[in-house]
Symmetry: C2
Subunit: 357 residues, 2 copies
């Protein structure tokens, strides 16, 4: 059902119909009512494609990133979708397999679909930057969900550094000195911040960090950050595996840490399993803390002390920032960077409840 068909039936002009549609005052009350009734009768649905072609605004945003939806970003994806919908925007997916070519193709396809803006999700891969830069060069707004200073674009990100500082500090306050860190060996800023926060807290407490306990777990085998395939391979590795393998490695050493700081809740669950197999009690003999506060955290074999990531807020903020750019409400040429604060959620795996008794 097109506007043309409707005006033909009503014997009015396109202009008048348009005025009714846009709520313009310049239309006789009786005409307006007649039009409105017909619109309702035929259940007119405006063609967004045609409108988009004309206005150069498609009311859609592209969600891009390396790798697929994962447990760790599901909350953000949902929040973005939800917030976008509320503002009348659709979200179109363009997740690549992590390869540079697919990355470029995803972005190109989305641009062909004339998305109004982009949100980039997930850890940044070095070779993605040029593709993102191309978006910016084309004058299309882009909000990243992780700090990517090279890009000079808007960003909403969870303050992982202070989160890991908080987490580590909490363990230190419980008397732990022998603390291991379980992260992956991604070179991304995002992962780096975890380590930075950890080291901040250790330094503040004047506790030396034992390098053998900073584990960049890699179940696939001895790859280092210099292996060009390492990054990609890890997309298929679950955090559970990371945690299990990493913790197993550390627990097999002659000197064991008394606490683990993990890269995620799932990683902590894997570590929990490793401890269990090694006959080590958590939290009595070993404290383990996670990150994310996901659905499963309270139901882990030992409920996890962790950091709550406000996914809802993060996703919303990203969408709002993007739409503010689109509407021109933010004119500022310099990137807007919004840091999202986290909260420490104390459950049993850190052992502080135990200590109190």
């Amino acid at each position: 059902m097109t506007q043309q068909e409707i005006v033909d039936r009503l014997g009015i002009s396109r202009g008048t119909l348009q005025r009714v549609l846009t709520g313009s005052a310049l239309v006789k009350q009786s005409t307006r009512e007649r039009v409105l009734k017909e619109l309702e009768r035929v259940k007119y649905v405006p063609n967004a494609i045609a409108a988009g072609l004309k206005t150069r605004r498609t009311k859609s945003i592209g969600l891009v990133g390396p790798a697929a939806i994962k447990m760790s970003n599901i909350g953000k994806v949902n929040a973005i979708h939800q917030a976008a919908r509320e503002k009348g925007y659709s979200v179109i997916f363009g997740f690549s397999d992590g390869s540079s070519e697919e990355d470029a193709r995803c972005i190109r396809d989305l641009r062909a679909r004339m998305v109004d803006g982009f949100i980039a999700l997930g850890r940044g891969l070095p070779y993605s930057n040029p593709h993102y830069q191309a978006i910016l060069d084309a004058g299309i707004p882009l909000v990243t969900l992780y700090p990517l200073p090279e890009l000079k674009t808007d960003c909403v990100y969870v303050d992982t550094r202070s989160a890991y500082r908080k987490l580590t500090k909490h363990l230190i306050s419980l008397g732990h000195k022998d603390i291991a860190l379980l992260i992956d060996h991604s070179t991304s800023q995002f992962t780096a911040n975890r380590e930075l926060g950890f080291r901040d807290a250790m330094r503040a407490a004047k506790i030396p960090v034992r390098d053998e306990w900073v584990v960049r777990a890699d179940p696939v085998g001895g790859r280092g950050p210099d292996d060009e395939h390492a990054e990609k391979l890890t997309w298929n590795t679950t955090d559970y595996e990371y945690g299990f393998e990493g913790a197993s490695t550390v627990l097999a050493k002659k000197k064991r840490p008394s606490a683990f700081v993990c890269l995620s809740d799932n990683c902590a669950v894997g570590a929990l399993r490793a401890a269990s197999l090694a006959g080590i009690r958590v939290p009595q003999d070993l404290a383990i803390v996670g990150f994310d506060d996901n659905e499963g955290a309270p139901y882990a074999s030992v409920p996890l002390t962790t950091i709550h990531q406000p996914d809802e807020m993060t996703g919303r903020a990203a969408v709002e920032l993007l739409l503010d750019r689109l509407s021109g409400r933010i004119q500022d040429k310099s990137p807007v960077v919004r840091k999202i604060a986290t909260t420490l959620v104390i459950r049993e795996s850190c052992g502080c409840q135990l200590r109190k008794r």
Copy 2:
């Protein structure tokens, strides 16, 4: 960069450019090369919006469903996205909050965007049917991912009934007679099939089902399937909670079952936690089996025996079916229904490894 600008620069006509673009043979080799080079030089990206308006094909598919992406459907969503991309299709999200109005709005928005077809994901809510029917009435292909016979449309679904039959049979073969079933109280076909499969196996073994052990867990409070809000409220309830609450309830009864069949792995993890708190050993005193074979299943406090859902295959099959309809490769007016088989994955939580020793 538009076609017009390119032909102007090259001094050729739109038709010729078009022929090069479509790979038509009717173009002089030298011209073709000249055009191709220019295309590459200016990095021409065809405007999919304009093309869509003209051809009435947008090469996009709408993914609809009540509620958001959840851990249980994440694999299917990724598979759909991936398979669609490979065929040159984009996927646009239209997840509602589970309310009838939002459901309708999501579908309307997607239709306004002229998606070529729909895939419906998630458990069907009774009031969604009319909206889905409207899609069919408009002649737009729709593939559902759960059986919805009332709808008479194509469907790709996991054979839950036989999966639960398999699962229950396995437990029975291990000597279990006192088996409890933990499902939610959704009235959907999908959930009903779980119970049917369970009862199939019990009947075949001539074991009576104790109704008090068929638990439709509902942590929110005593709502039954007749409560109109019950369905919706459960969207916000995690499977972990379900499992924990449901198992706790059953384990508190004077006569306890010796095995639990759960609605998902996460539900089983919740049940595992409930058993642990009650001081019941798994699998020695209680067998627990899940469904999904998700990432965490091998890393549960007791690695889960479960049913592997071939999400990859399911998602691909749905996309392929949809595209076959779109291309007219399937002309058959009657719905194509494709049942996806599952496999039993044996780990520790069923106790059969234990028994062998």
